[in-house]
Symmetry: C2
Subunit: 387 residues, 2 copies
């Protein structure tokens, strides 16, 4: 192994599930990575603890009310402390940053990602909403600034791994696998009375609350379909969703000769995180290995888009294009938050999304301001609908 | 698609199963390939028909008794006709040949492959026995002459496809899949009375007689283990055999980060043949596509090496090294031929192989002459044992 300079990482959303696992990967590979920036929305305590351990150059606490807490706790450390949303856009542009890991939840990832791309930083994208909301804009910017967008989602990482060495070979089809979530096989009648606690129990993956609910509604897969469209330059008709309850085959690519490549492994986000961080190198590790003896059968079925309307709505938004995926995402973010606050039923989530898709104005080629406006108007409309 | 010059192909063993499918691929892609040489062991009629269709520069009929037949039939064509084993070594060295496809059966592939490598030709290797018998010698030669050895076996093609773009990433493990053959799940008692007709009925693949019997005894997988050791530079302990009755996952590679890549598709040799011919390009085709809807479950189990002794014997020969894989192969070739002639029982095949492995002299670093001598002596010993 030749020694290469360490990659200096800005980690946006360091206290969430992906953020913490990213720091585990960094801690296990101190010869490869070092932490330059950590940011958190609200979790001041965890951010302080992480900062003391990883000694970044700077931290950002987005919730300005927590600034004094963080500043005082780190008073004896040579660490710059910033607060507020705007600071995210500045720290990702720091000269000393090589790679920006965007592990923020939801729409909040959009603006700092744009700033990072504009500064020519590589992006490890764990925030799928960024591409869902503004895929055309983001991928155009990335081309202009010759920036790599490295997927962190396990499905997109699988496809990205399968595309290694295949750059000149056109993709015929992408097959995104889906566990089916905790309610696979249920009918709409079954789902009418679903509780928050039930929806938060994912069979295979341990993740944050927003993405766990999105997995239960299949919206997560819908967002991934839109993300895949932009990451891999394919059309909606080239993307297929396949339910695979064991979550071992993380996704597949079919090439124009009919050959299919797949990436497999235990459901563990550390592997795709490490792959994005170390790309194009693979780092030896001691993660538990997959063993076929424990999985004598891998099974596959079609997704039930009658029951799980969100997946069909995501395809519809992608096919309509323009600002419709942005509407889809904003409506869903509001609906999931309201579901988590016990103010909306499980089936209500897709009803809110569907109604918003029907009611917001269509913009064919949105600029950034249009996305911002669409997001804002959709949230207002979604909240009205729920009230 | 940029237009590149056509690859000019010497096809050794053009009348066998792989040979005929290779010609199907060539015929479907006249803008990419042209046939420079065709060779056959005995099948004069088929060779003549192929020569008239593909207009090669030269043909070889190995069985010299058929020379006149072929010569006269092609008298009005501008095609050179040669006969005899030696001619194979000459035609592969022709200036006009770019790629040699070795689709010969068994040990016969060794010498022409060496000649082709010495002349700097790329090799599409469908003759696994070449690497089984003399893997150290062949891979050393290929390195010296900077020759690519492109696997045609579906399992090795799968691994080779998964290794694209991963050249700097060490392999942790190779998982070779095996259908398990027609007798999967049987006991030794069940196999005592097995007939030739039963052994020739492979559940998934349509192949020549020798390889079909090898599939029924699992020797085919054993030979593939040895082939993989040489093609991919791994040790015996890094190779695992996994029974997968549907033959959809053609094989898998696990890297040092624990990530596993697999190649999948319907069981159809045309795809790996086309991949080897067109490498590194993938050519669009109309081969039937794999559909998960028709395979809702893919299953996996450990191979039964108590019943199918040949697989254990192949690992043993590989671990002992030297000329032992050559002994294994020669004993097996004789035993399978005798089984096909109704002079040996199905279980007798592995008994002959095991006894030969115990009785032939061990040579640690064989030269080509040692392989030739080992092959000869083993065949004599195997025939004595059967008589």
């Amino acid at each position: 192994m030749t020694s290469s300079p360490k990659k200096r990482i800005a980690l946006l959303g360091s206290t969430g599930s992906i953020g913490r696992q990213t720091l585990d990967v960094v801690a296990a590979n101190p010869e490869h990575f070092e932490v330059e920036v950590l940011t958190a929305q609200n979790s001041a305590e965890e951010l302080i603890r992480q900062a003391k351990q990883f000694k970044p150059n700077a931290v950002v606490i987005v919730n300005e009310e927590q600034y004094t807490t963080v500043k005082q706790a780190l008073a004896n450390e040579p660490i710059k402390v910033f607060a507020g949303e705007q600071a995210l856009g500045s720290v990702v542009q720091m000269e000393s940053v090589d790679l920006v890991v965007t592990a923020l939840v939801g729409y909040a990832g959009l603006k700092p990602t744009i700033k990072a791309i504009e500064a020519g930083k590589s992006i490890a994208l764990a925030n799928k909403e960024t591409l869902v909301v503004a895929g055309a804009l983001i991928t155009q910017l990335a081309r202009e600034h010759r920036v790599n967008i490295l997927p962190v989602d396990s499905e997109h990482s699988a496809i990205f791994q399968c595309l290694a060495g295949e750059i000149h070979n056109p993709i015929e089809k992408i097959i995104l696998t889906a566990s089916g979530g905790p309610f696979r096989g249920k009918t709409r009648a079954d789902l009418a009375q679903v509780t928050k606690a039930q929806a938060l129990k994912h069979p295979n993956w341990s993740m944050g609350a927003k993405i766990t609910i999105d997995s239960a509604t299949l919206m997560n897969k819908g967002l991934e379909v839109i993300e895949a469209r932009w990451l891999f330059g394919v059309q909606a008709a080239q993307i297929e969703v396949l339910v695979h309850p064991q979550s071992i085959i993380h996704s597949l690519v079919q090439f124009e000769d009919g050959s299919i490549k797949a990436q497999l492994g235990l459901p563990d986000m550390k592997l795709p995180i490490q792959y994005a961080l170390a790309y194009p190198q693979r780092l030896k590790n001691s993660f538990p290995r997959f063993d076929f003896a424990r999985y004598p059968s891998l099974t596959f079925e079609k997704p039930d888009t009658e029951t799980f309307r969100n997946l069909a709505l995501a395809f519809e938004a992608l096919e309509r294009g323009g600002n419709m995926p942005c509407v889809l995402n904003a409506a869903n973010e509001v609906a999931v938050a309201e579901f988590l606050n016990d103010r909306l039923s499980f089936l209500g989530i897709s009803e809110v999304v569907e109604q918003c898709l029907g009611k917001l104005d269509y913009i064919r080629e949105p600029a950034l301001e249009d996305y911002v406006e669409t997001d804002k108007m959709t949230r207002i409309r979604a909240k009205e609908l729920i009230r």
